[in-house]
Symmetry: D2
Subunit: 337 residues, 4 copies
């Protein structure tokens, strides 16, 4: 950690800060320059952060040097973590696709869509029983009845299931019905939920918040690992920017960067990442090309009448075309679908 | 709602969309142009949204005309709502200041800070017992013990208390100890929490999410009102932008705009809105000048050793200076402090 | 164009707006709803925009329906435009790579780099003689001497050259020395420069501004076409967002979207789009996978001593690896390198 | 400057970087930690930046410590600079208002508006002869004829004039007709224009780019001072963010921050900063409250028929109301209007 002092910082304040660094068991450094005094502190960045040195009126800025996360870091754990969601293994050299409707609407719609995506080559089913909606007047899912449909469809069709959980009070119930819990973008920093899902031990798909820097995304994952759960899949799903032609801006830069920083698998959701059906296939191919470990894609048996996210859901035949187009791209980067 | 069709939309698709609009009890409009067919639908925008017309492969875009919120709208409820938090009334022509430490650290620190802000003219105390922290290794509050300190300080010093609640499981407990519940920026779209806090009937301070558009902010408030709670104070606390010189970008444009759109009171948090102690006073004055109903300000008896947010917390004598500087500005815009 | 009126708009104001629409030779529409009056106007969106109806105190908002550009629009011109830059043809089913140093530093550095990129398979050379620099103290290029080096290198090595022009006063001189003019991100809305480069008739590489919406990017291209120049290549090079882990956020969503909207070729600059050498190859592959027509990549014979952009420049052997990795991805999406 | 090395940086690379720092006449520091080696360099940040140390494959990141600007810095020049634009003096304890139409449309419209704003208390006139327009089909100003109208109006009405210049080729001509040159937001990093305007010696109003960080804004001003012109007024006019309810997000945080960092005066443009007529007055008051030295406001004799920016232009009587409302706020913060 580097501590830049204000131009007029008095000597006793400097000595006091150096003493606080030393008292915390870290190595203090004193670097007087011509215009400013700069202090350094070498050691565990987490301990340094807990000193809250930026609260001092003589400190202009504090610049961390090392990453603030540990358990998710590839430096500490160089080998890829493989996350098993039922029969699907994410991470390593494979490339897997999770597909299904935005929301569970009916048993029939769920089953039809599940059969279609399985036939086309998907490895897991997605579908929402609890739906976060910007407006209180939107369709917000069937809740427990939706979970039951998911569980039955999973057995019948033979695909593991991922579904979102939004409330700490629902974690156990949701975990009993599905193979992996999803934490949605709006809840990426719902720390109570992160803790509860971490404690559940269930595999997790953690979506990046719309406004989350990559470092914050990895710190949210660190919450899960710190609670004892290392079965975590990261999911890039687009960030919010000034661009309004697409629903979100899919940040694919994040994929190779995250692969460098962490051992956890990372997948891409091109449906939310674009919000436009016609962009889903090209962006799915781009995700595969830049090193993602898989995809999460919205597919609906008839998007024109979907209760949510119809504009970004693929028709079953489009999903089939996506799977066919993916194969040569995945192989071109040395992986297998 | 205006529905712009794709250039090649077939006639039967057009008729089918018009029929869905009419079936929903709304008035359909057909506007054929030289380059595109445009459809319109007049009536309740919430019903229109539920048709999910953008899921059709023949629809290029859907443009709502009316606001998607109702209960928070000033059009439906022209007069200012006054929210009573203990003895403090927010809204109307007064201007109120809520102040206190980021976190409850000790009983003594809380009491000392509370006494200082009361003496300087604050109308309510803030302080966190449950703290959302980006890193799992940060100080995350004393929980129930912190609530007890807040309750005792409130009685002793004679100030109503606002504190954050982060988990639906804690709503009742927190509501029993304080005068108003705060929903933090990270939880603005935690819909389970919005629903639970709405049901509690307790006054709420709802903070704008870092990435929330004003319309989304008002829709989050609509969740609270739809759950039966109209004692809602909105709080602008800065949004996330590309600017890194400040912790957030305080969006004061939002204040006069929100005052136009809704009858609910709106306050400003210049501490989180800037992240820099030296900017808190000027931005507090700006908030008062553009029509805010009050402020929420972080003050600590000694920010240099604060366990969180020290860099943006005022020293007690700075808070006293703020209150003195506020008075003539508040009066210049025809209000009273 | 849809014109939403304020709730209290008087009848005479409504009639006056309808008359202005009709006087402009367009078709006015009157749509009275239960809460608002909405007006419509069908016809040329450019004429509609020139009415400036949003200046009226009775208008709440104005929503255009059609795109504001014409000449660049694929609706008007369905077939791909092929842009010839010397021997290189951009657009259609090929995939081309422009590579070279950020800046022309010396004749030797330029020649060595040019030879290396040609050998690896690049189709054109890039290199800056005039460099936009955020600080007035940065290296800002050798100007006319740099142009001469580029011209000589081009002949010697046998690669067409693209270079940036920053000032209307330099357009003729730069056009005399190179095969295509680049308009940089910071000048995307330098309308005087757009006009002068449009008039020059020289092929242009137009980079997207850091803060430009896709519609504004296409309108900047419309300036070039409106001045008589249709030899325009669009270049996505990253936008500015809240993310600080990368220099920019490469917006690959823009590629398939732009290909839908316009007939002009579009390429990707993964060097500026990431700012990090290790991310250039994966993002170049992603660009190819989602449908870009080519790449612009920074390569330096020794990035460790480059005078600018060293952190994002590839070493020659890395560029060679990129070209080898590109081939199967380009072929996987049905194109040829 | 702090240089963080990659974990595996070899000893000879470390020594080579230390040698480059020492060769540049700066003081190198070696700080080996348990996880990383960190290097430091003390001295002129501009020299350090020119070493381009981030180009090395062994460097992970480079963190500057001191500001990269010098001439605009308050550390080098503690006293407020007063900029004289004709009879108007900006800076110090006064508060001045520049007002007028977006564009010069006719001599009569310009004169009427100028007389109205003068009567209400404005100190200078604004008006565009050259207008940057997003679309090539928008009204782009009358050019030289507009300059003549401005010059004549200035004499007749007795107000100094500020107008935008967009092309280096026009700098002399524009400078001959008006009292101050404006560099618009889109040209804030048009370095050729900054250099030419700097050389002209004419007072300048430099608008912040839509996507410019405060540091970049100050570096753009540094270009002007480095070219010999210290008569520079900075103008905050809103930045681009995800918020779409307003045209831009007015970043008032920038005002007190810029006043700390530089000795140059800073004004606020609430017209572009909001894009909405009804928000102009409250945001003008907020600008005064947080320490701005003045305002630039769009006023039109009849905004409903303005050729540009009608939606954000005040009616003359609204401008009069603004000036009356400003007085007590300006005085409340210890200044005089």
């Amino acid at each position: 950690m580097i501590i830049v002092l204000k131009p007029d910082a008095p000597e006793d304040a400097i000595q006091s800060i150096l003493a606080r660094i030393a008292d915390a068991g870290l190595k203090p450094l004193h670097m007087p320059g011509s215009e400013r005094v700069v202090l350094g502190a070498l050691g565990d960045e987490r301990v340094l952060a807990s000193l809250n040195l930026d609260g001092s009126p003589h400190v202009e800025s504090v610049k961390p040097i090392l990453a603030p996360y540990k358990l998710v870091s590839r430096e500490m754990h160089p080998h890829d973590t493989i996350v098993a969601i039922g029969s699907m293994k994410l991470g390593g050299t494979g490339f897997k696709v999770i597909a299904g409707p935005c929301a569970v609407e009916t048993a029939e719609q769920t089953r039809n869509t599940a059969q279609a995506v399985k036939k086309a080559g998907a490895s897991a089913l997605r579908g929402g029983a609890y739906k976060p909606r910007t407006s209180p007047y939107g369709f917000n899912g069937h809740g427990p009845a939706g979970l039951k449909i998911l569980q039955e469809t999973s057995k019948e069709v033979g695909l593991p299931v991922v579904t979102e959980v939004m409330d700490t009070a629902d974690v156990d119930r949701v975990a009993d019905h599905v193979d992996a819990l999803q934490i949605g973008a709006r809840n990426m920093q719902n720390f109570a939920l992160l803790h509860a899902v971490g404690k559940s031990g269930k595999p997790v798909v953690l979506k990046r918040g719309m406004t989350a820097r990559i470092e914050e995304f990895l710190l949210a994952a660190e919450y899960l690992l710190a609670a004892g759960n290392d079965q975590v899949v990261l999911c890039e799903r687009g960030i919010r920017t000034f661009e309004t032609a697409t629903r979100n801006t899919l940040d694919l830069n994040a994929i190779p960067l995250i692969k460098q920083k962490t051992h956890l698998p990372v997948i891409v959701d091109p449906s939310h990442g674009t919000g436009i059906r016609d962009l889903v296939i090209p962006m799915a191919l781009a995700a595969a090309a830049c090193g993602a470990d898989g995809l999460m894609v919205e597919v609906h048996e008839n998007p024109a009448v979907a209760l949510s996210d119809g504009a970004q859901s693929l028709y079953p035949d489009q999903f089939d075309a996506l799977m066919k187009a993916l194969k040569p791209v995945v192989e071109a980067v040395g992986r297998r679908l």
